[in-house]
Symmetry: C2
Subunit: 345 residues, 2 copies
DNA sequence: GTCCGTGTTGAATACGGATGCAAATCCCGT
DNA sequence: ACGGGATTTGCATCCGTATTCAACACGGAC
């Protein structure tokens, strides 16, 4: 059923039908109501494809992602798509895989004329491939930095987060700290590492060892934690670049190295994924403000101006979640509630 | 840049440009090569929207999902979208949330003219809302059953899976079995429960207790496991309707009830999510054949005939993964490799 | 009654590519 | 050189909606 057919059936023009479905268009309330009623009755719905062709707007936002196995992302994606649906947008998923030709995978972004692109692929994508793909359309990089100041980014305050962890270790009296990185090549990986090391120095603590997992995964953390110990360093606290690494690392430290957490070694992560709260882990971590991230991303992808030079870098504040992986049971500021949270500007 | 502009620039007709990009169309290799070369040079790409309008095909598959928090789904979605991309389709995500009006949320499926719909929302969606949404287009229900024999489904062999678990418990000498359901209202929930109970009876074992979590989540499993014990029953083996329930349940049994797994109680789940292999859990489970599910779903959503009465119900075979949550360390058929796997037809 | 402004309506056309059909070209045999 | 079939090309039209523009209706002011 097309708008023309419906129009013919009820004796109005096709324009009228189109206007009935277009908010703010020039049509009398009576006419609109009559048309909408008939449409409901006869099962007419505007064809979105034709509408896209006319208006050059698709109401589709491309979501580029690469790392669905890090449990932080599914939750983020879910809330992003819901946030977009809430404002009448749909989400077209682009799953970028490392092996194949990235540009070819992103070609569809351009062909499908998506209105905007939200990139949550922290890894993999080169800046070059990225800027080619999003050329000429709105874009938001989530949890990823860019050297290009013309690109809008939404990101937790990494420096504040890792500093909060360092401060927390310091407050606990730990002085010999280890660091486990994920991917050392990404900007965000470097930023976290750099900020952490800087803060350690300010506090007069030593970085007694570090390792790189190479990927953000449980297995990577498991491996890297052992490497860290094999170096000979015996840290009394280890900060993992994110939670999934920390969980793998914690299991390695306990099961393989036979250490006690947090007595022998305190452990902290970053992100606050669901599993970090599980009783076996109770991981102290720096929580990403997922709601804020989603809200700002949706807002920016829909309403940001498209001109040059007005890109924004939004830094959102997270929150330190203290759990037993650093303070143990009963030992420390934890009383009834096993979890304490500190907002960090 | 449009096909007409490109055509004008290189002195051919718009039709020629269109044909150059349409495989199998009537055009000489020389002409095609010339056009494609110029297109590459001048940066022309066909506008997919216009193409959709002409051909009435979008190459977009809608993916309806509701339960991104069960870790089984992110992996499935990821592989589904990749599988679809591999055959030139894109994935439009529809995240159905329980609260709001379902039909309204699914309206976009119809307006966007997706070529097909893959439903991986085991929960929530009523049959009625579903059949309205997918009316007239190809659809595949993944991991979800339907009473309507005209709907194509792709599903692991639930009966074989739960029977394998029951048999495994039996072989271990366990006789007092508990069952923790997820959502009891879903068809798949009922099927698993029924098949499990039936098999127990055949083996002469007793179902000493059962509980329903109400949702497929860690917290639900944690709660339901305690309810099961509070009933007064003391099972020596518990089967959880899926892995995430089992993980929550296992932690509850250990931490809250102080039981030893598997000595006091053996535990098994269903799905084989990544975390089930983690050393703290080592959960015996029935693994879903994710690759097969993806492969069959992609195949069916692309090539299945659209007529009536030729819907298929594909039942794929899974695999029992035996880990320490049932056989313990060293005690049982597990030797060097902590994991043993048994294919189940 | 006339005039003008405001608010509605319909006819016509644009959006960019696909395709049926007719015209043009090619290739080959004679 | 010519005819005939096969292949290639271009023209015209269509897909379904949005939007411009002109036409029209209505109401109030003079």
């Amino acid at each position: 059923m097309t708008s023309r057919q419906l129009a013919a059936l009820i004796g109005v023009s096709q324009s009228a039908v189109s206007r009935a479905f277009t908010p703010g268009s020039s049509i009398s309330p009576a006419m609109r109501e009559r048309i909408l009623a008939s449409a409901r009755e006869l099962g007419y719905q505007p064809n979105a494809i034709a509408s896209m062709l006319s208006t050059n707007r698709t109401n589709i936002i491309g979501i580029v992602l690469s790392d669905m196995r890090n449990p932080f992302y599914p939750g983020l994606i879910e809330r992003l798509t819901q946030g977009l649906q809430r404002v009448g947008r749909q989400s077209l998923l682009f799953n970028v895989t490392p092996g194949a030709n990235i540009e070819e995978q992103l070609q569809a972004i351009r062909q499908y004329n998506v209105d905007g692109v939200i990139v949550v692929a922290a890894t993999i994508l080169s800046e070059k491939a990225l800027s080619w793909a999003i050329e000429g359309r709105r874009s938001v990089l989530v949890n990823r930095l860019s050297l290009d100041r013309n690109i809008t980014t939404v990101c937790v305050d990494n420096a504040a987060g890792v500093s909060a962890i360092a401060d927390h270790f310091h407050a606990l009296g730990r002085r010999k700290v280890g660091y486990v990185a994920g991917m050392t090549k990404t900007l965000i990986g470097r930023e976290r590492r750099m900020a952490f090391v800087t803060r350690l120095a300010e506090l007069g603590m030593t970085l007694v060892g570090s390792a790189a997992a190479g990927e953000y995964s449980y297995a990577g953390g498991h491996r890297a934690a052992q490497e860290l110990l094999a170096e000979g360093s015996r840290p009394d606290a280890i900060f993992f670049a994110n939670d999934i690494l920390a969980l793998g690392g914690m299991d390695a430290l306990r099961d393989v190295a036979g250490l006690c957490v947090p007595d022998d070694v305190a452990i902290a992560g970053f992100d606050d994924i669901a599993m970090s709260a599980w009783p076996h882990y109770e991981l102290t971590t720096f929580a990403q403000p997922v709601s804020d991230i989603v809200e700002r991303s949706v807002e920016l992808i829909c309403n940001a101006p498209l001109g040059d030079g007005d890109a924004r870098q939004e830094i959102l504040s997270g929150r330190l979640i203290v759990r037993r992986s650093t303070v143990g049971a009963g030992g420390g500021p934890v009383d009834g509630d096993p979890r304490q949270s500190v907002k960090v500007a």
